[in-house]
């Protein structure tokens, strides 16, 4: 209300227009209060009336102030009763509980446990809502509040009206506070869960940086191991890896005469290939060689076959079990110097492809593709 300011901000012209025997706006402003209340002395009322007949601004303000007062009178009519136990509470807080015991009117008689539970039962019935006299003071005297309760002749303070509970309700259990607390709790517990901290097993020693680093490393290793385990247990991965391995074995056995002895120097094929530029896959290579060595130990017969193949490279014995690839080998006998993978490639790719198509795409890992592609490139460059 900046336009209805204190006495200084009235335009000077207006008060100059008012004849000197009448009141000017500033003087009338002092009388607004009484004018709105209708409590002006007769002479003052006359003066104000004379002024407002000329000054529209003052007239409007007085009428507005009068309206405001009328609104307030509406509020004044409202019966406003404090809670019935307020006096008892005040007395308890000021003079102490001991003195309230000899005040017959506000004293709280001790309720027998049996009746207490009866009341509790009655108010815990579903659908029964008791008006909270905390928030809704009842008009009239103290009797009004107790009417419903004292049908059994028991005035009592329900649990939700006791000061401690009221305080809790007004602070902690306020909806937004409760919401904030719940959110905080959930986010903290989620974070802790994610990090792997178990509060029940938490020790002060766990807070040392060393221990924390160890815990994090362990978490990481566990997660990593789980993923690797899952991946290696996928059937398609296993199958394709073994096929690729078999293919390479076959190719090596075909081309062995041109190279160094295959079974003796297990690192030789890998080393020669690495020399040709597949450095990025060195680890694949070595792991596969390790696998190869293991297989050779388990199945010495195949190893002997490979030895024989090396001595007579014209007729490589098919050592794989896959029907498609077997068939392709049987249909096309491989001549020395011919690239095995190139020959087998169309069938092989179609086999792998059908494997892919028959499974959900999520299982087709990029590593698998890489292996397949690598073996082809490898053969080509060899």
């Amino acid at each position: 209300m900046k336009d209805h300011g204190q006495f200084g901000d009235r335009p000077a012209g207006k008060s100059a227009n008012v004849p000197s025997d009448k009141l000017d706006c500033a003087a009338v402003e002092l009388l607004w209060v009484e004018a709105a209340e209708g409590s002006l002395a007769p002479t003052e009322a006359e003066q104000v009336r004379a002024h407002t007949s000329e000054c529209a601004s003052c007239r409007e303000k007085i009428s507005r102030a009068r309206k405001g007062r009328e609104w307030l009178l509406v509020l004044k009519m409202e019966p406003l009763s404090p809670p019935s136990d307020l006096v008892a509470k005040i007395l308890a807080r000021t003079t102490g509980a001991s003195e309230t015991s000899h005040l017959p009117r506000w004293s709280m008689p001790k309720i027998p446990a049996e009746i207490d539970s009866r009341i509790a039962d009655r108010y815990s019935l579903p659908g029964y809502s008791f008006p909270d006299s905390e928030t809704a003071p009842v008009p009239g005297e103290t009797v009004g509040d107790n009417r419903t309760l004292s049908r059994d002749g028991i005035p009592s303070t329900p649990v939700w009206q006791r000061p401690s509970v009221v305080f809790l309700r007004k602070t902690v259990f306020e909806p937004r506070m409760a919401l904030v607390a719940a959110m905080a709790f959930f986010s903290i517990s989620l974070t802790l869960n994610l990090v792997g901290v178990k509060l029940t097993r938490f020790r002060a020693a766990d807070l040392e940086p060393q221990a924390m680093r160890r815990a994090v490393t362990r978490q990481y290793a566990q997660a990593n191991a789980r993923v690797v385990h899952y991946y290696e247990n996928l059937r398609i991965v296993y199958e394709v890896e073994s096929r690729v391995h078999q293919l390479r074995q076959a190719a090596d056995s075909v081309q062995a005469p041109e190279k160094t002895g295959y079974p003796q120097g297990k690192r030789d094929p890998g080393a020669s290939r690495d020399g040709q530029g597949h450095r990025g896959d060195r680890d694949h290579q070595s792991s596969r060689d390790g696998l190869h060595r293991e297989r050779m130990e388990v199945t010495p017969v195949k190893d002997q076959n490979a030895q024989q193949n090396r001595s007579t490279p014209v007729e490589p014995a098919p050592i794989f079990s896959g029907p498609t690839i077997d068939a392709s080998f049987n249909a096309q006998p491989i001549s020395p110097g011919q690239n095995v993978v190139e020959t087998v490639q169309p069938r092989f790719v179609s086999t792998v492809f059908s494997e892919f198509v028959s499974r959900p795409a999520s299982q087709a890992s990029s590593r698998l593709l890489k292996i397949a592609r690598f073996s082809v490139q490898e053969r080509n460059s060899a």
């Binding site: 209300m1 102030a65 609104w71 509020l75 007395l91 003079t95 008006p131 809704a136 008009p139």
Partner: protein, 203 residues
């Protein structure tokens, strides 16, 4: 509270007896005055729960400071009102931050008066409909009153709801009488303006 001489005399006598250690006199003082304090607090804060807590605080303060009250120099109701007003100002300063989010909680504090249908019938109002409309209107005015700035609000409440005279208000608020009058007028006009705006929005 109209400061007629009878009640003033009576209150002074009670205060005197209370100062001499009469517990019963204190009880009577609380009994006589708590409505007034509660009413002031309720009108100023607009919350029954706050009003109840504040009323208790006021009487606690009165009880502790009763010795400092000089019967010869001022009336007890004015002193009580001053104490109440100071606590209200403190409370207002404390909760000013919460005021902005007040609307979130609207509806959690039930409106004034009996809330169950059974109690509404029990109240001895002749016309339930009229009663209900009155309540709506009163709630509206109370809501508007809370939007009036605190300096104007306290002046208006003391004058129009508690019927104190300007001199007493000036004493309670510790401002000149001219300022009291100006604040009352501005408070009334502000209230009327707010309610006109509400009416326009509702219509």
């Amino acid at each position: 509270m109209p400061a007629n001489s009878d009640s003033t005399e009576e209150t002074s006598a009670l205060v005197r007896r209370c100062l001499q250690g009469d517990g019963h006199a204190w009880q009577q003082i609380v009994e006589l005055q708590h409505r007034r304090v509660y009413g002031l607090c309720y009108r100023f804060t607009g919350s029954a729960g706050d009003a109840e807590d504040l009323t208790q605080d006021v009487f606690l303060k009165v009880y502790r400071n009763l010795k400092t009250f000089d019967i010869e120099r001022g009336s007890f109701p004015t002193w009580l009102t001053t104490l109440t007003r100071n606590l209200l100002v403190d409370h207002f300063r404390r909760t000013r931050v919460e005021q902005t989010t007040h609307s979130l909680d609207a509806g959690w504090e039930g409106p004034e008066g009996p809330s169950s249908p059974a109690e509404k019938i029990q109240t001895e109002q002749p016309d339930p409909l009229q009663n209900c409309m009155d309540r709506e209107l009163q709630a509206l005015v109370q809501q508007a009153l809370l939007q009036v700035s605190p300096e104007l609000r306290e002046a208006v409440i003391l004058r129009d709801l508690k019927d104190m005279d300007y001199k007493e208000i000036a004493e309670v608020l510790r401002i000149p009488e001219g300022t009291v009058k100006s604040r009352i007028s501005r408070g009334r006009m502000e209230l009327a303006r707010l309610l006109e705006r509400t009416k326009r929005q509702v219509m």
